[in-house]
Amino acid sequence: MPLPAKQPNVRVVTLNIDGRDLSAREDETIIEVCRENQIPIPSLCYLEGLSVWGACRLCLVELAGQGRLLAACSTRVAEGMQIQTNTERLQRYRRTIVELLFAERNHVCSVCVSNGHCELQHMAQKCGVDHVRVPYRQASYPVDSSHEMFRLDHDRCILCTRCVRVCDEIEGAHTWDVMGRGSDCRVITDMAQPWGESDTCTSCGKCVQVCPTGALVKQGTSVGEMVKDQHFLPILARRRHPQ
């Protein structure tokens, strides 16, 4: 979903989130309103400044009168909405989603360069994931260390596509894309060539900074040393999409 262009004259709607009466611009999404009002909504694929992807499903919320759950990142607010963001059912689903992420690939936190600075690890703790109830897939995924500055470890990738979006929308290089389906799905550089051989990569490192886990990291980092800095994103995003 492309970033909606902000309209100069936009209506204000009122809605209720977790028992709080709030007002919001009608072109805002539920997650934006929640973040503005310090209502915590977990998310991994959503990142302010990038287009909306709606892949991780962690931001699912309950809307009164709706049987299905809605992703807060990809749902616009509307007049009179009654939203619950943290019910027992949502907590249960979120916990399961995080467990499935851990079970699919091999996120061995203790030996990860992002240990202690990882959004997935933090999410697991926040959602009360103290163990994974489903069996681990134990599948092997490759590591691409061909780039002189950066490294890609598919084992730690959760397919949030932040790298794909930041490269396309902010850097304008579109080096990254997605290939394959299901558990074979993975992020690729150019036409699935080694990263180091990419003609389009500018080595700007934006993909590394927005990656929530230890999938994209700087070369030469050791356990726990990879600290990411995403401050550039909202600033650049505003300049790319003048309001």
Partner: protein
């Protein structure tokens, strides 16, 4: 306090590095307070050679990687009222489970043949057979309390034990996490 009113605790160490037991010892002076309330009846830290028939709290460090680990885990499950998975290896397989990407024969060859120059041989006598897939403890027996961390800090272990002694169910996510 008489010895009989104390809570009995057993610990053992499966496929791990002993770091979780080291972290246990790292509780320092709090260990003195702990021994007022618990009896460690079986552990690498004490001399007892057999697991008593009935233990209140069993603590397992390490993953299930060999026949011996499997037997010990089953033994602990059978004799302990509450079973605790202590540390990432016990909780999620951690580093020992990284060999699951390879065939067991290749792993053994790598350790005992490919990298050995003098008399390469695979040990078969007096060592337990390795399982083809390394699993967390709850992959083979039921576990009641999960304490992630590599290792869980002494504070986290202290918190969990205090809660168990008080008869409460601890929430380890409040004090520790994977890789902590």
């Amino acid at each position: 306090m008489s010895a009989t009113s104390k809570i009995t605790v057993a610990t053992t160490w499966l496929d791990g590095c002993s770091g979780c037991h080291m972290s246990f010892l790292d509780m320092d002076e709090r260990l003195i307070e702990l021994v007022q309330q618990v009896d460690i009846v079986y552990s690498p830290l004490v001399d007892t050679k057999t697991l008593p028939e009935q233990v209140d709290v069993g603590i397992l460090e390490g993953s299930i990687s060999s026949e011996d680990d499997l037997e010990k885990a089953r033994d602990f499950r059978k004799h302990c009222k509450i079973l605790v998975s202590l540390g990432d290896c016990a909780v999620n397989g951690n580093v020992p489970a990284m060999r699951n990407h390879f065939k067991l024969a290749d792993v053994v060859d790598r350790a005992y043949r490919d990298t050995v120059t003098v008399q390469p041989q695979t040990p078969t006598q007096g060592v337990p057979a390795l399982l083809s897939v390394v699993k967390p403890i709850h992959g083979v027996v039921g576990v009641d309390v999960f304490v992630p961390g590599c290792p869980p800090s002494a504070d986290a272990i202290w918190y969990v034990l205090r809660e168990l002694i008080a008869g409460r169910v601890p929430d380890p996510s409040a004090v520790t996490r994977f890789g902590a």
